[in-house]
């Protein structure tokens, strides 16, 4: 350590802070394609293995190698797993962003950095730990070509020493991450140890941050939402999958492929009980899904906003010809190409009414990886029950980040394949029309090719209750009204909201999807910091269920918290609420591409409620690159 570092640390000692245990965030700033993902996962998992609730968020560029990327790990004894706005501990490995990263830290934060960057000269109110990574990596990695990657396993070792992580658990996490790659395990374990040894020999602990063992994560898993949804699809019995690669949805289908290859190949014949096709584009993906579901298969696709735009026409066909389809929309920032690797909830309005003409679609909105799993299964049941497209509205934050969760529960009971005409039913009905509403719920009976029941001609052109081509005004109106009746029936079948009503609360929160975790944390902040009580309505589907009105009525102000600019969910609600109720709705909007955080919600709500809010100077960390095209 250089003498200047010592001088700085003496200054900090005067501003000694209380120990901060299991309640802080670590941000690792690296260059993408440098192997830092493995290092970050080792850090994340070792904190989990220490029994401390943890979450990880990757802020990465739309690029394969060489651009800045930030990974934030949050340890939270109170189980907060949303993004934390402030960074407490920075690992600065990227020369390009290091200066800016350091300048935006809160006073008292700690920085581990690559020694040649000389970051300690920038500020005197931070704790600096300079590490000569290049010098340390050479002895543990004789092969110079691998050093660039192995180097990144040194900082977890340094952090382990400084924060108090158990090295045995670190090694366990490393083994889990690298699996059977024995040579890689040896090299990386060496780098981990080199980091630890250097920190032990060199540093005196100056920062207040500690990880201490807890018992809060027994049995917990770490999984990305996309993988969780894929497991749900497999358990739902999906048989036909068509997809086109697009960030952030690709890993959903890629996970599905690997799970299906492992668990859905017939043991006796070695043949597949599924077909997964990488289509030529998103249009063809949905075309294949519709063809397959029309022919009776449980079929799905996964995409993001640009793909949804392309699927507009086929969605209208599926709605009108009444073919089931499960479509995962892992939302990213739009419009157009937008920010392909950043998160948003910006496709709500488009998806709800996707197509020309009068259309309305069912949307399921999972908040957690567990719901990504269960709602994947529900989506297939709903799509087949209602013979219509069902959209599962995930987002990049849920789909591509690692989330801590309880293990998933094995599904019980049968699946719902909807109203398929049988011999017995046909006998009972006497006659059959493809689009005849015999049960009054708007849902007709269908036949599938090859079932040797009466055939029909599916079409996107006008048709009557018997499925015959028709341009008659009364046939058109009757059919459109029945489709509306079907949508109304869906209100009683979609997942209901999770409501926490606080009788003392004048303020109600409505949130959905990944905004949930920041919303919960914000409610605690409001209660603890300003004694503001709130109720909470966690919306889980569209169409809305009947209790929405009741919730609005029970509160003076209802904040609809969402991750888009145009208050899209609030707009959907306004379509169904009376003018008086509409005036109660307010918005908390977050749309900078980063996952929403509790502090932003709290500050916004307090400002709108007329509280004096201290103007936070803290800048958004990991803001991303500019230029470089």
């Amino acid at each position: 350590m250089s003498p200047t570092d010592l001088a700085v640390q003496e200054k900090q000692a005067t501003a000694h802070r209380q120990r901060v245990v299991n309640d802080f965030s670590i941000q690792v700033a690296t260059v993408n394609g440098s192997g830092s993902q493995t290092a970050n996962m080792v850090l994340l998992r070792s904190i989990l293995l220490m029994g401390v609730p943890v979450s990880g968020k990757n802020m990465f560029p739309s690029n394969i190698a060489g651009l800045p990327t930030w990974y934030t790990i949050r340890a939270s004894k109170r189980h907060y797993i949303a993004r934390k706005k402030e960074v407490d501990f920075l690992v600065a490995m990227n020369p390009e962003t290091a200066k800016e990263d350091v300048l935006t830290l809160e006073p008292g934060s700690a920085v581990v950095y690559d020694e040649p960057l000389k970051l300690n000269a920038l500020r005197n109110d931070l704790v600096f730990y300079p590490v000569p990574f290049d010098k340390l990596v050479a002895p543990v990695c004789p092969d110079a070509k691998l050093r660039r990657l192995v180097k990144n396993m040194i900082y977890p070792g340094v952090l382990a020493k400084i924060l108090g992580l158990d090295m045995k658990l670190m090694e366990q996490a490393l083994g889990k991450q690298l699996g059977k790659k024995a040579k890689a395990v040896v090299l990386n374990a060496g780098a981990l140890k080199a980091g630890w040894d250097y920190a032990e020999a060199t540093f005196t602990k100056q920062d207040p941050f500690f990880i201490e063992p807890m018992n809060e994560t027994a049995g917990k898993i770490l999984i990305e939402g996309n993988a969780a949804a894929a497991i749900g699809c497999m358990m739902a019995g999906v048989t036909v999958v068509a997809w086109y690669p697009i960030t952030p949805s690709s890993s959903l289908c890629e996970s599905l492929i690997s799970y299906m290859k492992k668990y859905r190949v017939d043991k006796t014949t070695g043949k597949a009980t599924f077909a997964i096709v990488q289509a030529e584009d998103e249009i063809a993906s949905l075309g294949m899904v519709i063809g397959a579901s029309w022919a009776g298969a449980r079929s799905m696709t996964a995409t993001a906003g640009p793909g949804i735009s392309l699927m507009t026409e086929f969605t209208g066909l599926a709605y009108y010809a009444e073919a089931p389809a499960v479509i995962f929309n892992v939302q990213r920032v739009g419009p157009s190409t937008g920010l392909p690797t950043r998160t948003a909830q910006g496709d709500l309005l488009m998806t709800a009414f996707l197509s020309h003409g009068d259309t309305k679609h069912i949307m399921l909105i999972p908040s957690s990886v567990e719901e990504a799993y269960t709602m994947a299964m529900q989506a297939f049941d709903l799509a087949e029950h209602f013979q219509t497209p069902v959209f599962v509205m995930m987002d990049l934050d849920l789909g591509m980040n690692n989330w801590m969760s309880d293990a998933f529960t094995y599904p019980t009971g049968p699946i719902n394949r909807g109203k398929l005409l049988t011999e017995a039913k046909l006998k009972e009905l006497g006659s059959w029309g493809r689009y005849t509403d015999v049960d009054g719920d708007g849902i007709p009976y269908r036949t599938i090719p090859g079932d040797h029941m009466p055939a029909y001609f599916a079409r996107g052109s006008g048709h009557n209750a018997k499925g015959q081509y028709s341009e008659r005004p009364d046939d058109y109106v009757e059919n459109m009204d029945r489709l509306n009746r079907k949508f109304e029936t869906a209100r009683t079948h979609v997942p209901r909201p999770v409501v926490q009503t606080n009788p003392k609360a004048k303020i109600g929160f409505i949130a959905f999807g990944t905004s949930h975790f920041a919303t919960e944390e914000s409610r605690d902040q409001l209660r603890e910091e300003t004694k503001v009580e709130t109720s909470y309505y966690r919306l889980r589907a569209y169409p809305f269920t009947d209790d929405l009105v009741k919730f609005v009525d029970a509160h003076e102000h209802v904040y609809v918290i969402e991750q888009n600019r145009d208050a899209q969910m609030r707009q959907l609600m306004k379509l169904e609420l009376s003018p008086e109720r509409q005036t109660k709705l307010r918005s908390v909007l977050h749309y900078n591409g980063l996952p929403i955080d509790a502090r932003s919600i709290t500050d916004d709500v307090l400002a709108q409620e007329g509280f004096e809010v201290a103007k936070k100077t803290s800048r958004v960390q990991g803001a991303g690159m500019t230029g470089g095209e």
Binding site: T273, G296, F314, Y410, G450, F457, R459
Partner: protein, 342 residues
Amino acid sequence: MATPVKVNRIGLEPQTYKGSKTTLCAGCGHNAISERIIDAFYEMGVDPRQVIKLSGIGCSSKSPAYFLGGSHGFNAVHGRMPSVGTGAMLANKKLIAIGISGDGDTGAIGIGQFVHLMRRNLPIVYIIEDNGCYGLTKGQFSPTADLGSKLKTGVVNDLPPIDTCALAIELGATFVARSFSGDKKQLLSLLKAALAHRGTVMLDVISPCVTFNDHEGSTKSYAYVKDHDNPLEEVSFVPYFEDIAVDYEPGSTQEVTMHDGSKLYLKKIEEGYDATDKINALRRLQETARRGEFATGIIYIEPDRDDFLTQLNLVDEPLATLPLDRVRPGKEALDEIMEGLR
């Protein structure tokens, strides 16, 4: 005593293969094609309940309503029938798919999906009812309109046509043929052979539009096509279930054994034409086009390449109707996955 009813090999009457009454123009080539389709499915003894009829948008795409009324049909969106057909065949590999498209539906809006259908060699009989114009929107040029062909209004086409047969061969289709809606015999033989093929059949049928493209100066009129039809061979098809021996002089006829054991006899008209030679086939298409003629008959055939569903190694039963216990892994599978994530 009632006269005995004529039935095919599976005991069905010709009537069973008909559809609803056509709403296309009187004399439309597409109606002749529908009639040949009815004949071919009847004569081949195909169970209509196992057939799916698919189409895009346009006059051609209306026609599946006019044949095989007992089969399920799907009139999809413009140019996107290939994907719908692909999905349906993935769902149920036991189905027999026939897709009807037009030259606009295939060559313009649908060229992307057409290209990838051909690449995949999906088992489907894909027919282009090719009249070189958009009939349903009153006669605009389509991408198969020939250079110099004239519209009724006098507008001359100055863009080169897309040769869908050449494209299909290039892309990997395994049965590529061209015919003329007015050539009953050739078209019927081709359709029957198509039903015996396992893989993508691309059949381009020149089918004059009597209303918008049948005038002097059009290269897709009845008169022009009759004069410029250049058959490569005489096509005879003998299905596997008919015990017929065909005698031919060695060297005069190419014999092709189809996937199901049926035989195709191609009696050479053009000297030395080998329908299994891809390069030769493409050269012949170029040569006939340069002369302003249409090469008809089987242009290219590859009877034994694996189709898409075989490549996917699917179980023998239709995926659509597999019972839950075969498509939902057991609890131990989920437990194993969860353990891996701890």
